[in-house]
């Protein structure tokens, strides 16, 4: 750390000099983000699974990249900040990789997740095709299993 946050901010000083683009640049990035938002909402309406996955999650990644690069200025930040954030993401991948097999599968060589199987079966049987906040206002949630059961 070469300096502290206690010094009064001077225009153009290191402490406040990260934003170096004109305002119009940020407005353009915002415009691109809004176009991507529209695509992510419209894409799934086509009803094609691959298109939905790409437009929903692929575009979320692109939007995140634009925000990190242009609004948070991570590209011109000290390198160790990016490494710090990537380390945290790597820990998440380790967590998901370690727990995933137990959560995603409901049966293994020497174990059987009876509660999860029951929850899936009961939920699928109950259905629930009412649309968004649709016809069952006031009724209990369809296919509601107790929180304990759904594990």
């Amino acid at each position: 750390m070469s300096d502290t946050a206690h010094a009064p901010a001077a225009p153009g000083s290191h402490a406040v000099a990260h934003a170096s683009h004109p305002d119009s640049f940020y407005v353009k990035i915002w415009g691109v983000l809004l176009v991507l938002l529209v695509v992510s909402v419209v894409g799934p309406e086509l009803g094609i699974r691959v298109v939905t996955l790409f437009t929903a999650f692929g575009i979320a990644v692109v939007k995140a990249y634009l925000v990190i690069k242009n609004f948070m200025h991570l590209g011109v930040e000290k390198k160790y900040v990016a490494y710090l954030l990537l380390t945290m993401l790597a820990l998440m991948v380790v967590m998901v990789g370690g727990v995933g097999p137990d959560v995603l599968r409901h049966q293994g060589t020497n174990w059987d997740n009876v509660a999860a199987k029951k929850a899936v079966e009961a939920g699928l049987k109950a259905g629930g095709g009412h649309g968004e906040h649709g016809a069952d206002h006031g009724a209990p949630a369809p296919g509601a299993a107790s929180p304990g059961e759904a594990h």
Binding site: S13, S40, P44, G123, A126, H137, A139, P140, A150
Partner: protein, 177 residues
């Protein structure tokens, strides 16, 4: 690097673990429980999209505030921070209407595990929105007097992270039906 900015990056790193844990757990359960599709179809895509628009716009005003601060224009930075706070308030208003409709329809945090995740993830995120708004009120008050302008960037970094989390919550909770 200024100590304050380093501290905010450190905070964001720890937040990645918090939200990463919640989102990772949600994703695994969503894939392992096909019946959740019957529940997720009841979330309102349009209210979620409206809130995405609001947060993206508030991120724009946050980065413009940072730009103004970097030019030494504390008054404009303060105004833009207040606009960002307004965006946070609008987000919470939409959320309150959304949750009211869902709870009235019988979808509560204890209905089943999908709704438990839904309210927990969106609730933790909402608390971060409120925290960001409170921080920005203090930063804006100082910035209006031309004081501590370096804090405008720090508050903005945190706000962009809150926006980032929502960018991933939106497809997970509202699009993947």
């Amino acid at each position: 690097m200024p100590t304050g900015r380093l501290a905010v990056w450190w905070l964001i790193a720890s937040e990645i673990v918090i939200f990463g844990g919640v989102l990772g757990a949600y994703l695994m359960h969503r894939l392992g429980h096909p019946e959740w599709a019957n529940q997720s179809m009841h979330t309102s895509t349009w209210k979620g999209a409206l809130n995405t628009f609001i947060l993206l716009t508030s991120s724009l005003s946050a980065v413009l505030a940072h730009n103004a601060a970097s030019r030494g224009d504390g008054k404009r930075a303060a105004k833009l921070l207040w606009a960002t706070i307004g965006g946070g308030a609008a987000f919470l208003v939409v959320k309150s209407f959304e949750w009211t409709a869902e709870i009235k329809a019988g979808y509560t945090i204890s209905s089943n595990t999908f709704w438990s995740f839904y309210y927990t993830a969106a609730g933790i995120h909402g608390l971060h929105v409120i925290a960001g708004m409170i921080v920005m009120m203090f930063v804006a008050a100082d910035a209006a007097k031309g004081k501590e302008l370096q804090r405008v960037e720090n508050a903005g970094l945190y706000w962009h992270f809150v926006d980032l989390v929502w960018i991933f919550l939106f497809p997970l909770l509202y699009i993947a039906k």
